[in-house]
Symmetry: C2
Subunit: 216 residues, 2 copies
């Protein structure tokens, strides 16, 4: 029904809508690493197909139809990520890229069998929720780790899918479900000292602000 390219656009618009609504074309182009001219062209095609609403100088927004498509692709993506880590044993910093290709080659039938094999997982390895087959998704709000005060504790909810960052966080044990306690926060936007499963680490604010936690 839609091309692999169009699926990528929808998936990305969906992702960006969490932070910006409607999504500016420049944001979309930047995220997809393409020119704004190309983004413009494609967005108009998607609008013609009733998958998005585009208002020049405003931005792009998914229609219900477009959102359904985006959630389908996102479901496939996250199911593959779970499969690749849990069943094939790949590192959590390797699976995003692989899933980005597999997601476009996956039928409904295969996706649902996969979900069944994995026990209907609720999140991907990075902590993001897997949309249900019916297209529902619940995203817990949470706080960034950098917002916590010394003495506060949180459970890691999710971390962004950036390979180098994941490599680093994996080594520290900062994965979804992990409990983190902020021990100290250096003044003047300084680094955080945190405790994760017995070990103590120092984290830059940039990194800490990318880690979403549920306050305990």
């Amino acid at each position: 029904m839609v091309s692999a390219s169009a699926e990528d656009y929808l998936k990305t618009i969906y992702k960006l809508e969490e932070e910006e609504q409607p999504v500016a074309l420049s944001t979309l182009a930047g995220e997809l690493a393409i020119s704004s001219v190309s983004a413009n062209e494609m967005v108009r095609k998607l609008a013609k197909q009733g998958l998005v609403i585009y208002e020049p100088y405003k931005g792009v927004a998914l229609t219900p139809k477009g959102r359904a498509q985006a959630l389908t692709v996102t479901r496939r993506h996250r199911l593959w990520e779970r499969f690749l880590t849990d069943v094939l044993g790949l590192g959590w910093n390797q699976v995003h890229e692989e899933a980005c290709r597999l997601e476009h080659a996956t039928s409904l039938r295969v996706a649902e069998r996969l979900a069944q094999l994995l026990g209907q997982p609720e999140t991907c390895p990075h902590g993001y929720p897997v949309p249900t087959a019916g297209g529902e998704i619940v995203l817990e709000a949470g706080h960034t780790l950098s917002e916590l005060e010394p003495g506060q504790k949180g459970v890691v909810l999710h971390v962004p899918e950036e390979p180098e960052l994941l490599q680093y966080l994996g080594d520290l044990g900062l994965k979804p479900q992990a409990v983190v306690r902020v021990e100290a926060v250096a003044p003047f936007q300084g680094p955080l000292t945190v405790r994760v499963g017995g070990a103590r680490h120092t984290l830059g604010r940039r990194v800490a602000s990318k880690i979403m936690v549920r306050l305990l």
Copy 2:
């Protein structure tokens, strides 16, 4: 390195080389369901890349480099087929189409993990050998079931990947490893009466000639 389309060409040339060497362009075009002009164009591109040798009015042949690529794609295809039947439980008549898409979205890393998960399978669900990671493959010659004389027995080696045929053969139990005994052959190119696992069936010659067996 090569596009999904190019991978399909190489895989198909490899398959056709088993029956015709070099492969006529018209055979290739027919198998891929494209025009001979398109096949001509692509074959010349592949030749320029050193993947095939093309001689007008003769046909196409894979170079060692092209054969290696073809075997890689074929390995991924057959590993996915095994996964889809053995792990996800899809029917053997459904997996070819799915694997045709997944094979182009699969990295070396994922293919090898998959092979490991599956226990380094030697054949796909239809009985064709899975090329090794090193690019080796052994194809047993065998006979078609239609060549057997009444009273002779054989083990099914492989059957072609045609969904409707697979549906039919699956119902009869005519799968790889199955033992078949030819009980009678009707005269004038007539049908065969065969015994498969306790049941007796009548098979047309067209069908019987597509089933490869090892003589017992």
